[in-house]
Amino acid sequence: MGATGKEKPKLYESGRRVDGRGLADLRGIKIESRVLNDADGSAYIEWGKNKILAGVYGPSECIPRHDQSLYRSVIKCRYNMAPFSGMEEHGRSGPSRRSKELSKVIKEAFESVIISENFPKTQIEIFVEVLQSDGGTRCAAVTAAAVALADAGIPMKDLISAVAVCKIDGHMAVDPGKEEDNFGESDMPIAFSPRTGEILLFQMDGLLSREELSEGISLARQASEKIRKIQVEAIAKVYQEPKEERFLVIK
């Protein structure tokens, strides 16, 4: 980490990426649902070295009143990086340009799956706190927030997940880490609705050809199916091993 100013390492060599993965391999993902006692729904995700906590509140009365809609619930999202979360400039608290952008794209991804017409005049709040970052936090944040929303029992048309694809030394690869993100040729986070295959979040850094783009999307689609399985396991585990208290215990 802390790659700025360093020499570009060899990202792809003899079938192995910089951390030893193959092109279609994800980093290790662990999700735990229902970890916060006071939130209506919550989830904690460890995705590689990323550590992210997501909490959902609502539906509750929409405050301020001028934000509320008579037709649907207003969805609000706050993505925030802890000052100690990474090696780069995250040292100040409060919203930055980056965190505002990510809050917006995460909110918009969820607006298309939450059935908000059921709760007029209310708000649903999604809070995402990045405790430790290592590339791909927005994808991990979407994945964790989807679990937290399902845990809160908020009606949704789908359980969504997100994953990034990147281009490293001319090869398309899934789920870039920090180094691949900083030195790769391109980075492209995508969120899918697995039921319909719709794309709910799509951003791109760098340049890709048409063929590389479609290869990247199909790689991400395959990876998101794996992520959905992990999400489903995390949600089901809450009911298979019920706990009296909802506190996060790091094993």
């Binding site: 509750s60 005049k121 029992g153 009606p155």
Partner: protein, 203 residues
Amino acid sequence: MIDLAENRIVMPGELLSEKPERISYAFVDKGKTYSTVVGLFSEGKLVPLEGPYEPLPDDLIVGIISEVKFSGYSVEINAPYVSFLSSREIRERYEMGDAVFARVDRVDEVKNIDIADAKKLPVGRLVKVSSVKIPRIIGKKNSMIDMLKSATACDIYAGRNGYVWIAGKGNQTLAEKAIRMIETQAHTHGLTDRVAVYLKSQQ
């Protein structure tokens, strides 16, 4: 301990039926029916495992008076909306913080909620649980709640909104613990028997 075999646990967006069907907490897209919540699905019925309380007419609820107004009261009922209790046709007077047992009278399309037939509850304690667990706390033909009442000698009012009011001279702490136990194990089988064993062991 947990038997999910006959009750399939479904996730949001999971296919329930190849045909368009009217199932609560489900939606129809392109002629197929999908779940919207995490729930248990069996025999064409979807029971959510978690979720906010959505008031329906004739629900019996426990509410807390949150504001005294000129013509009635605002009542907090564990929903995203505050309900209104008109003071017409009520003989009692309430103060802020009083607990009432009432019936949901009317809910309109923008979720203005009117409640009626209120009755002030005696001094007691409030246990907040998720509203989807209330049918389990009441049990089939009131079996669970009758057992709780007789074992703890408390008066228990289970509101459909997820507020449970425990009053009376009995063992209120035991009643609260038993309700918490039902809440965490609501989706499991043979719960009434396990609660009976627990209540016996605590007496």
